[in-house]
Every structure is written in structure tokens, then in C-alpha cells.
């Protein structure tokens, strides 16, 4: 059964698909919290801090992108800002790019001397997940769910522990504790708390329901 909000979203997306320009403003006004969350979540993965004005501007950019895609949106699927997260990401990246610090040519030249990664070097887990999320909706959904219920540090604990366990580590909490400089008990406790919160989210919010079947959540 659809909630009032879902019905309103379907209506406004239908108006956008029918080329009603006023629906741009409706989407912007009525779904500002969801759009702002999508923008801020993306910016967080890029390590960018956005002001209220930045967020406001980006919401408008995202609305324009969603209006272009409105005819292709399927109301039975994810909300448009999740379904079109690549467009949200592009809008955020364009904005962040505008405000990037100028390139330090000297440092850049020095970094080119030997920029090949050393053997055994791995990208940080959250960075790898961010890359995977661009191609796999399940990963994007899991990241969104975990980001909703956990602080940045606890997200790291949760995913690092899951990665270590999947690599066959019999004591992932010990490994993660050593990596992060905290006690294994704290790792176990935080990992369990985040897992339970995601389970609760999967049980109460329909669009996260599929997460309940994932081994890292179950």
C-alpha cells in the first residue's frame, strides 16, 4: 500500500513526464528533505562539506536532472533520487569541481615521479564500496542504509569487519581493532549494533527490505 508521500511523488513525477514546468518547483519544495539527504550523502562520500546555499543550489540541479529522466522512472522501483543516483553524483561532482582548490603544480610534479601503487597497497574499504555502489544497486542501498543508522566511524567498523570476515579472517574484530586502534570488544559491539539497526530498517522500511537477506545483515 502506498503512503500519501509516495502517491504525491508518483503524481509529481507524472506531471514532470507530462512536461508541466510547475512540477519542477513542486518536486523541489515537497521532497526537499529527501533530495537534500541524497545530495549530502553523495557529498560525504567525496569528503566535501556543503553549505546550506550549496545544498539548495544542488537540489535545484538534481530536480532538473530528474525532470529529464521523469518519463523513464518506474514508480514500482526506488525513489527517483536513488534510481538516478548517478545523475545526483554528477551534479555533486560538477559543483565540488567548481570549488576545488587549484592544483599545486610542484606537488603534482613530485607525485608523478613514482605514482604506481606499492605491491599489496589496497584502496580504503569505503572508497572501494563507493566505486561498487555506482554499478551495483544492492551495494548502494546497503551503503545508504548503513549511513542512515551509523556514524562515519561506525560505518567503517561495520564494513571493515564484514570485509575481514569475508576474507576468511576467524577473528575479524581483532584485525579491525588493530587497524583502527580500538579494543576488539568495541568493534564487536559496534558491528552488532549497526547490524541490528540495519535489520530494523529492513523490517520497517519497504525499500530496504531486500537487505534482510544479505549475509552481512542477516
Amino acid at each position: 500500500m502506498e503512503s500519501k508521500r509516495e502517491t504525491a511523488l508518483i503524481e509529481v513525477m507524472a506531471q514532470l513526464a507530462a512536461q508541466d514546468g510547475a512540477a519542477l518547483y513542486t518536486l523541489r519544495e515537497r521532497f526537499r528533505p529527501e533530495l537534500a539527504r541524497a545530495v549530502l550523502a553523495l557529498a560525504r562520500t567525496r569528503g566535501a562539506r556543503l553549505s546550506a546555499d550549496d545544498v539548495d543550489e544542488l537540489i535545484t540541479d538534481v530536480v532538473i536532472e530528474l525532470a529529464r529522466l521523469a518519463p523513464a522512472w518506474d514508480p514500482r522501483g526506488a525513489p527517483p533520487w536513488v534510481w538516478a543516483r548517478h545523475r545526483v553524483a554528477s551534479a555533486v561532482d560538477r559543483h565540488i569541481g567548481q570549488w576545488a582548490r587549484p592544483l599545486d603544480e610542484e606537488k603534482h610534479a613530485a607525485s608523478l615521479v613514482d605514482s604506481r601503487p606499492a605491491p599489496g597497497t589496497e584502496a580504503p574499504t569505503l572508497e572501494v564500496l563507493a566505486g561498487l555502489a555506482l554499478h551495483h544497486p544492492d551495494v548502494a542501498l546497503l551503503r545508504e542504509a548503513v549511513a542512515r543508522v551509523a556514524s562515519d566511524r561506525d560505518q567503517l567498523i561495520f564494513f571493515e569487519t564484514a570485509v575481514q570476515a569475508s576474507l576468511g579472517d576467524h577473528s575479524p574484530a581483532v584485525t579491525v581493532a588493530e587497524l583502527l586502534g580500538i579494543r576488539p570488544e568495541a568493534v564487536r559491539q559496534q558491528h552488532r549494533r549497526v547490524r541490528l539497526r540495519v535489520q530494523h530498517l529492513a523490517a520497517t522500511v519497504p525499500r530496504f527490505a531486500m537487505l534482510a537477506a544479505l549475509p552481512v545483515v542477516a
Partner: protein, 109 residues
């Protein structure tokens, strides 16, 4: 209780509590760039009308009904056919349409 304290919601009904539409100037300038330009000569009025109707989340029919207009009046307004000095009284008094239109500087105006 009197309206002085606003406990009965009177402050919200006072004309001074009405939005000036200033918060819509930036978004309207930006969003009007992606909309087809109004065919009529009063493009700022058209953009302001679309912005206000959209912000209220109303269809043209619902917007007309809310302000005691005909749909044709709304279509004319959004088509850029209504000059600022001919804006109907309900829209002039109850919405920031005229103010918003005067703040917009759209190409073609």
C-alpha cells in the same frame, strides 16, 4: 486571547506574514532556463506564475479554483500574455507573484 500574541494564528493571517517571494528568485531564474520560454511578451510574469503554482503543488485547474479564476486566465498568465498591471486582485494580494516577477530579470523581457 487577542491577536497581539498570535496564539489564535492571527499573525499568520496578517499581510505582513505573507511571503515576499524573495526565496524563489534564485530557483526561478535557474529553473526558467530549462523551461520553454513563454510565447507571450511578459516572460517574468509567466515564470513567476509557474513558480508559485508549482510551489503550491497545484494543477492549473486547482490553482484557478483557489484564486477564483478561469483556467484560461491561468493559461494566459503562464503563457506570458498578462502584464503586471493587469494581474488579478486575488493573485496580487494573496501571492508574491507581482513582486517575484519584478525581481526576475529574464532574457527576452
Amino acid at each position: 486571547m487577542t491577536g497581539a500574541t498570535g496564539g489564535d494564528g492571527s499573525r499568520g493571517r496578517h499581510p505582513s506574514a505573507r511571503s515576499s517571494g524573495a526565496h524563489l528568485v534564485g530557483p526561478t531564474r535557474r529553473l526558467s532556463l530549462v523551461l520553454s520560454p513563454a510565447p507571450g511578451p511578459y516572460r517574468a510574469m509567466a515564470a513567476a506564475a509557474i513558480a508559485i503554482r508549482g510551489t503550491q503543488g497545484r494543477s492549473q485547474a486547482a490553482f484557478a479554483l483557489a484564486y477564483g479564476l478561469d483556467i484560461a486566465d491561468v493559461v494566459a498568465l503562464e503563457g506570458g500574455d498578462v502584464p503586471p498591471d493587469q494581474l488579478s486582485a486575488p493573485l496580487r494580494v494573496l501571492t508574491p507573484m507581482g513582486h517575484l516577477a519584478s525581481k526576475l530579470q529574464l532574457s527576452g523581457d
